[in-house]
């Protein structure tokens, strides 16, 4: 865990209202485990708190971030140019454990899919079979460049879209409902809270892991701003998470 000045290597649009950022941050990159995140200082002097972003990829001394425009911080980030320097703190959070090779399903929605990127690659490189299922609201939101982080490693990549012209219509939850879940050794999810709440009963008892997004104060475990209720008491998303056992989280109380 360190603070690192990171130079922007590239910044490209990735679907509607989102960007894929690649930053040169060799120290953070070298320590990153799948599912961890960085705290990014956005518009310093104007915005007070850092913003947490999952690390989509960490190859070649860089970290890649998938940033959706949702407010002042993300808008500022999306507008940074090549060679600009950002202040990152990380890697943070527990991350995903890496199980023995097997059959894995990754379910992602919206910006949540970023936390599954490194996991997909490492599972595949370890000899596992990875099926990826991703849901988007509209076809325009599909972030082609971000999908590369998955499509090059997974066995199958299924995209599903809620509204608009697209071959597979519906939600990621609909798709999970149609799957034969028995064939998977491990299931991993990340996405909007509505999606996760709908998935929780479908995946109950299967040992599924979920990576949560949260509004954070510090990101380092000291402020207790991101505590969520679990069956084992309150847990900090930034420290004891962001990865939790799906069945451990008390979804009704979030």
């Amino acid at each position: 865990m360190i603070e690192e000045r990171a130079r922007m290597l590239s910044n490209h649009p990735a679907g509607k209202n989102a960007h894929l950022l690649r930053l040169h941050a060799p120290s953070i990159s070298g320590q990153t485990k799948p599912g961890q995140f960085v705290q990014v200082s956005c518009d310093p002097g104007k915005l007070l708190l850092r913003r947490p972003y999952s690390i989509l990829d960490n190859r070649d001394g860089s970290v890649s971030l998938y940033v959706k425009r949702v407010g002042n911080g993300s808008n500022w980030l999306c507008e940074r140019k090549q060679e600009e320097v950002l202040d990152l703190m990380g890697p943070l959070g527990n991350g995903f454990p890496l199980p023995p090779p097997g059959r894995h399903m990754l379910v992602g929605g919206g910006s949540g899919l970023a936390s599954l990127g490194i996991l997909c690659r490492l599972l595949a490189e370890a000899g596992g079979e990875v099926d990826v299922l991703m849901g988007f609201r509209t076809p325009e939101e599909i972030p082609g460049a971000v999908l590369d982080a998955f499509s090059r490693f997974c066995r199958s990549l299924t995209l599903v879209v809620e509204k608009g012209d697209f071959p597979v219509k519906g939600t990621a939850v609909d798709q999970v409902r149609q799957q034969n879940l028995e064939k998977y050794d491990e299931i991993y999810c990340c996405g909007p809270m509505g999606m996760l709440k709908a998935l929780a009963p479908l995946l109950h008892g299967r040992g599924a892991l979920v990576s949560l997004e949260a509004r954070m104060g510090c990101g380092t475990g000291v402020c207790f701003g991101c505590t969520i209720p679990t069956r084992n008491g309150g847990k900090r998303v930034c420290l004891e998470g962001p990865v939790f056992c799906m069945d451990e989280v008390i979804w009704d109380e979030i």
Partner: protein
Amino acid sequence: MKSDLGVELGGLGRLESPVLLSSGTFGTATPYLKMLQDQPVGAVCTKTITPLPKNGNPQPRILEGPSSLINSIGLENPGIDAFVRGFEREYASLPFVHIVSISANAPGEFVHLVERLNELRTPRAIELNLSCPNVDSEGLAFGNSPEKIGSVVRECARISRFPLVAKLSPFQSIDPSFALAAQEGGAAALALINTIPAMVLDIHQFRSALGTLSGGLSGPAIRPVALKMVYEISHAVHIPVIGMGGISSGEDAIEFLMAGASAVSLGTMNLVKPTLPSAICACIHDFLVEHEMENVGEISRRFDGLQSPREP
């Protein structure tokens, strides 16, 4: 000339750095401590401990505003029993001087907490949180009159093995009556200021934007308010004042020292930049050298308010 960044904090003794870390923003989580190692920190203050464990408030607990943060954490903590059990493992080996922050609902409960802390060896002091805006009554109940502040401090001081720091907030008024009551009750130092009670509404949902009705405001936005309170109170009491409230740079810290604080403490900015103490100490050091001062205490002695004509 060698400048000394150490400060004498009355009954608390000497601290090697004038920069402290405020309650609720220091913790022993590993990622944070890694960032903090080698930082010149005079002392750290634990999260406030209450008699019983507290789960804290519902989400959302954190809102960012212009140069500010509103929190309604709600004193989430494991309670005094678990704190004392884990203390040796968690705090005693820390490379930092530590102060334990406590809060409770009744004078007898405060006394009970102090009795439990008397079992410990290593704390430098106990901070009485008499001003947390985020719980129904803890702290705040005692905050509403100088008499109550005085009596809680007095009862704790009677039995405490450790010097007491009374933490106050501007809602207790900027006049020094509360601070004087704490001083007369036996406080060894004052911590000024706690967060300021504040609200944000979600107008589209006709409800509070926080998980609770209101929270506590902190960050650079409250700095001038804190500075005024530090100035007024430090000139009315004879015990040292630890100044805090939105300090985010060396210049900010010097401002508080000049207004009369004997030391400063970082809260909100400590969440954002745990490596701030070294930058602040470097700035204070340069300032002392530039103005040919030997120690931090000289900064406030040079301050003359509006006495001398302003330089053109």
